[in-house]
Amino acid sequence: MKQIRADFKIQLESFSLDAAFNAPAVGVTALFGPSGSGKTTLLRCIAGLERAEGSLQVNGETWQDKSIFLPTHRRPLGYVFQEASLFTHLSVRANLEYGLKRTPLTERKVPLEQVVEWLGLSQLIGRGDPAKLSGGERQRIAIGRALLTSPRILLMDEPLSALDISSRQEILPYLERLHRELNIPVLYVSHAMGEVARLADHLVLLEKGRVIASGKLAEVLARLDLPIAHFDDAGAVIEAAVAQHDEKYHLTRLDFPGGSVWVGKLAQSFGIRIRVRVLARDVSIATQRPQGSSISNILAARILEICDEGSDKVLVKMAIGEFELLSRITRRSRDLLELKAGMAVFAQLKSVALMA
């Protein structure tokens, strides 16, 4: 059974966690929530670093239940902490090889050269003192060190949050590459929606130590009953593919089931999958196809649901083919246009953010 099933209860000094979720054992599952929601504690329970009550199965193997508690070092997992936490008494290479040496030969699936290539470590591996590396470089070594144990699941606890913006930008492409190349599931703790929208396939939402929603990223992001839909940067995610390059205007067309959008010209070739994010505040609604508009991305949509937000705004959920889109408009516009569920409308996308 290719699934991760977790159910934990733990009472810590100032905080209690009572969280259960199932996640597919492929792709990236984000544990998302505000700080203090228990994401890190949940991850530590999964790693066995906290001794919680409950149960955990990974791909059908029981790591924990009423009678079993595998200690951390017997759980075939990789863990990337918020700070790189490299061993200061070991060289860069010895750090990388620490876990590799402790992994039985028969279980080693990830060769050192592969990890060096994935994470761009060839310039770093010969360096002595890990303290002399930059924050981003240290975190890449830490990720490589975890991968070299050939884990069956990779746990990442806000691996970017301790880094400055430029180091983050440096590391994100590597994480995306791992996302494409690794065939092990990743649990990724984050409180940054941008990172989650970019990396995750599946989303587990936490609040005050409880799981309040869990499901496919695009579906959870478009649910109006959840707090994230009402964040300022709320928005929908669409998986599209490169369909056409326009040399004259320097644009690229991305197609998805139900429509297509034009974006600035991309280097990726035809057919490559691209994830785009459309923020609710960047989507406006028209009842007829707008004429003479400078906005080029206008999509035929159908209203699914409208929900009040504050005293002046409403959030509109629309379907475009298989995908769902959110739009934040004023309550006045809703009444003027007489918008209601089931109506056919046109969504105008002021901007489309590329996620890869």
Binding site: T72, L77, Y79, S85, H89, Y98, G99, R102, A146
Partner: protein, 228 residues
Amino acid sequence: MHTFAPDDLQAVWLTLKLAATSTCLLLLIATPLAWWLAYSNKWYKGMLAAVVALPLVIPPTVLGFYLLLLMGPHGVVGELTTYLRLGRLPFTFAGLVAGSVLFSMPFAVQPIQNAFEAIGRRPLEVAATLRAGGWDRFLSVALPLARPGFLTAIILAFAHTVGEFGVVLMLGGNIGGETRVLSVAIYNHVEAMEYEAAHWLAGGMVLFSFIVLLALYLAGGKLWKGVR
């Protein structure tokens, strides 16, 4: 050129033997104790820490007095050692070792405990996620990272035992070759107005201590930071 009397040489040798034995035993006892004090959350941790630190504040003669009573024929420890056919500890080298270990305990425990606390739990957790079991984590992570603490503990415990007087006098008396250590020998010379012999021993001790410390500090530049 002054030559040391055989008795004095014996005292020097005995002192070094006592300090070396005590330091080795201290490392064996203080390491797990320091580990527990650094990482435990038990309510009685503070109490144990206070007991370990007690020799820092009570006079050596007081400690020696109670140890003498405890190890004597009517003491709990004395009855135990008699029952185990080990004989009694007071006025023996083993008794001195027992006294020194207790007396120097805080000097060994505290630097090691501080070093473990400075490392924190994180490196050990990281090692656990990299498949290292308990002993492996201790040997491959905690021990090398705590090296400066161990070095300090060794120096302090050794030096403190070499210089001990009160506990030895109360517990070991003045038996040549068995319990007459350097500090007692110096005291004897002074009592007998043999100032020259006292000078040679006392001065030798100052010089020895200085050389040991200097060597450790010089070689330690690398050691204290930890070798990569």
